[in-house]
Amino acid sequence: MKPKGWKDLPPGSVVLEGGSAAKFKTGSWRAFRPIWKDENCIQCLFCWIYCPDMAVKVKDGKRGDFDYDYCKGCGICALECPGKKGQKAIVMTEEGK
């Protein structure tokens, strides 16, 4: 994308499109990757509420996979995940391994 010149700018540096940050992918920041294990998931949605990056997809109240475009790999979800019978539904793995 060609960088904007001064004549192309909205007056007053107002950002006109709400939620446009979604175009900015933060997934590349990730050093650790959360893996979701559906079989251990009790659908508590704690991972969803506690995710600082809105990177847990939930549809119709049901948890889906991670949105790796945005997940920064902090691991809060994995730590907070209660799992099932002592088995976590989210585990962190090192990226690129």
Binding site: G18, S20, A21, L45, F46, P52, C74, G75
Partner: protein
């Protein structure tokens, strides 16, 4: 317009604060913001003090805010929002606006306890219909962990470093929540992202009360607290369970503790996982550590009494 505060229902709502923001990995502040914004279905307008949240959520053409948002400077999120809210009232009075709109200001502890204190106090005294939410991470994190008046006793920051002579911050935190209560505004509360439902309820309640409201929310910062990226919720929960950060509200002068820890944990449980308190565990700082615990106990007892006598 009550929103059902179950995760299943909340998850069906559109994000008012979107992904693609550039807060650090594992930051507590965006969790605070998302809970605050999903707690209501009213249209909201946000004012944001300069700070981590502001610089990371709206950069060039990328804004994570899917609601009207304004940032002007560091010390004036409340004053700025008081202007927005006043224009809203003016337009409403003139019949140029009919929708019911709610107003929320977000500021960090630097922008709230310190430099923005006057602006906040003024806006609350004037009675603007708004909620001011402070996300308190206990230091100027955006500029690199400098001491604020919210920095806890004994903490190591870059401007009150734990040195060979001075063991970190020698002063206690300012109790801003109580100071705001002393403004005799209709609603003041303390909340934690770990207790998301308690926090969301407080926001919801605050929206239904006309006038100025203040909610102080603990927001772990793993960079400044020298902790792990995954422990924002763990640490904010420990803050509650050690009574470092009691969850309570003061509604029209009546104090109510909204979450009482099942078992009050020793403060070391909260301090230990944080590198900023590491030096407190050296033998020579034992006295300071005791002082930290004593202070928490004293404040907790005081709060229990206030909640009872009310």
């Amino acid at each position: 317009m009550a929103t059902t505060l179950t995760l299943k229902e909340l998850s069906k709502k559109e994000d008012r604060f979107t992904h693609g923001h550039r807060m650090c990995s594992g930051c507590g502040a965006p969790i605070v913001v998302k809970i605050a914004l999903m707690a209501t279905d009213y249209p909201v307008v946000i004012s944001n003090a300069t700070g981590c949240l502001e610089v990371s959520s709206c950069i060039s053409e990328f804004t994570a805010w899917n609601v009207p948002w304004i940032h002007t400077a560091f010390e004036n999120a409340a004053a700025t929002l008081s202007g927005v809210e006043t224009m809203y009232r003016s337009l409403k009075k003139q019949g140029k606006m009919d929708r019911e709109v709610k107003f929320i200001a977000f500021g960090g502890d630097g922008g709230t306890y310190d430099i923005g204190f006057q602006s906040l106090s003024g806006a609350m005294e004037r009675g603007h219909d708004m909620i001011y939410i402070c996300y308190d991470n206990g230091a100027y994190m955006n500029t690199g962990i400098q001491r604020s008046s919210a920095t806890p006793l004994g903490a190591d920051t870059t401007t009150c470093p734990a040195g060979s002579v001075i063991p970190g911050k020698l002063r206690s935190r300012k109790n801003l929540t109580k100071i705001m209560a002393a403004h005799n505004i209709p609603y003041v509360a303390q909340a934690s992202p770990s207790h998301w439902q308690d926090f969301a309820k407080k926001v919801q309640k605050a929206h239904e009360i006309k006038g100025p409201k203040f909610i102080n929310v603990i927001a772990p910062c793993n960079r400044g607290w020298r902790s792990k990226t995954n422990d924002a919720i763990l640490l904010s929960r420990l803050a509650v369970n050690t009574c470092y950060w009691p969850l309570y509200e003061i509604e029209n002068g009546t104090t109510k503790i909204t979450v009482t820890p099942k078992q009050k944990l020793p403060i070391v449980d909260f301090l230990k996982p944080q590198g900023r308190f590491k030096h407190l565990f050296s033998p020579e700082n034992e006295g300071l550590l005791t002082q930290v615990q004593d202070e928490i106990d004293r404040e907790w007892e005081k709060l229990l009494k206030e909640a009872k006598t009310d």
